[in-house]
Amino acid sequence: MFDYNFHWRPVLKSLPDLLEAGLLTLQVATLSMVVGIVIGLVLALVRMHMRGPLYWLATSWVELARNTPALFQLFFFGFGLGAFGLHLSPFAIVLCGLSFNCAGYLAENFRGGFQAVPDTQLRAARSLGMSSWQAYTRIIIPQVFRIVYHPLTNQLVWAVLMSSLGMLVGFRELSGETQFFASRTFRIFEYFAVTAVIYYVIVKFILAASRLLAMRLFRY
């Protein structure tokens, strides 16, 4: 009843390529997190402090990013923009799509973080003569980062896993690369099993690094 013969040799032979693709996955996920953090912070602040067109723009961003499939968002930057003659490279499509998605989720995390820092911290900073910018960058945002640190780590893990959608827009990250080899050798199970392990190791690495970083950053 079970007459499948495992063949691991082709997988082992292409392991260096898979690992390289894994690095690309980590790269695109990390980069989209960095972009997502910056934009997410801006979106959160706009939603908290502004009214009018900017508020609606930020709110629409957050709503779309959180309430539509990530795959559709990727397709928008790939085929959507392509329909208007704007052709991005597969790397750029995935970077834009993931950044768009991360920014939306992170904006909500940041908003919660800002609300968890008492108003009186801002007052105390301003009473010392700090400008609004100084008070935010030196007093408020560092505290917000501690509050959202673990959700931030989760989001990075999520970005790594979500980047596998990249293979549907022709991006040869870990999943794309796996798909490429699997379809050439028909060792589909073997390839995806090994790739699952690589994903697992990447995520574990992120979690460990994040824990170490937290110990360094948050001594209070």
Partner: protein
């Protein structure tokens, strides 16, 4: 000198300050007493511009706090403020809490700012807590840290907003002692307080606020011994 002229302040439709006129001379210690909601704390927030006002003016050393062209960040350097909830910055050590504003607001070098911070922390009796995070300090210590942080900006005036009322009773003394020390050194202070003993012993004048009006102001002997207003007498009878 701080001059307050016809100050009116509203929160929405609610008027919390109903035309306050008050002068505070350099070197003076003024205590402001009154029931909760009488506008005492709001007065302090209006003095350093943390709350906008609707009418009147607050003038600090000739500068109108609420005028459009006023550099409020610069003016606030003259006005140290200590809050009821001490508001130490939890992510910075005691030394960093105090050194930050001299460094980034006044542009002092790192070494200078740290030297100032160290001397101010010693001043308030926290010389052995320089590298401790606020989370590891008691409420009284955190409040003294907040006082050191305000003093590090070398303010001309210190505003105390019920600096002891959020503290456990056994910690009130150490903060009051620090405030007494400042008064003896000649610091100009406006203290919103519920500590009648402090108001009586340390102040040059005591002001009684009642429902947004400064009902009475005078030397402590007069306010505590021979208050003219019926409301003042009632309030003092209740708190004693």
């Amino acid at each position: 000198m701080i001059e307050i002229r016809g100050l009116e302040k509203y929160f929405g439709a609610l008027q919390v300050l109903k035309g306050i006129d008050l002068d505070v001379e350099k070197g003076e210690v003024l205590s402001v007493i009154g029931a909760s909601g009488s506008g005492k704390s709001t007065l302090l927030y209006c003095i350093n511009g943390l709350e906008p006002i609707q009418k009147g003016a607050v003038i600090v050393d000739g500068t109108d706090v609420h005028a459009k062209g006023t550099d409020i960040n610069k003016l606030r350097q003259k006005l140290g403020m200590v809050f009821q909830q001490w508001n130490s910055f939890p992510h910075l050590t005691a030394l960093e809490n105090v050194a930050l504003a001299p460094k980034i607001v006044k542009g002092k070098s790192r070494a200078e700012a740290q030297a100032i911070a160290e001397s101010q922390l010693k001043h308030v009796g926290l010389g052995d807590k320089l590298n401790v995070y606020p989370g590891a300090l008691s409420g009284g210590q955190q409040q003294r840290l907040a006082i050191a942080r305000a003093l590090a900006m070398e303010p001309t005036y210190m505003l105390f907003d019920e600096a002891t009322s959020a503290l456990d009773p056994e910690l009130v003394g150490e903060v009051l002692d620090t405030m007494r020390l400042l008064a003896e050194e000649g610091m100009t202070m406006i203290c919103v307080t519920h500590e009648m003993g402090f108001a009586r012993d340390v102040s040059d004048r005591v002001a009684y606020f009642h429902q947004g009006v400064m009902e009475e102001i005078g030397p402590p002997e007069q306010i505590f011994g021979d208050a003219k207003s019926e409301n003042t007498r009632k309030f003092l009878a209740n708190v004693r």
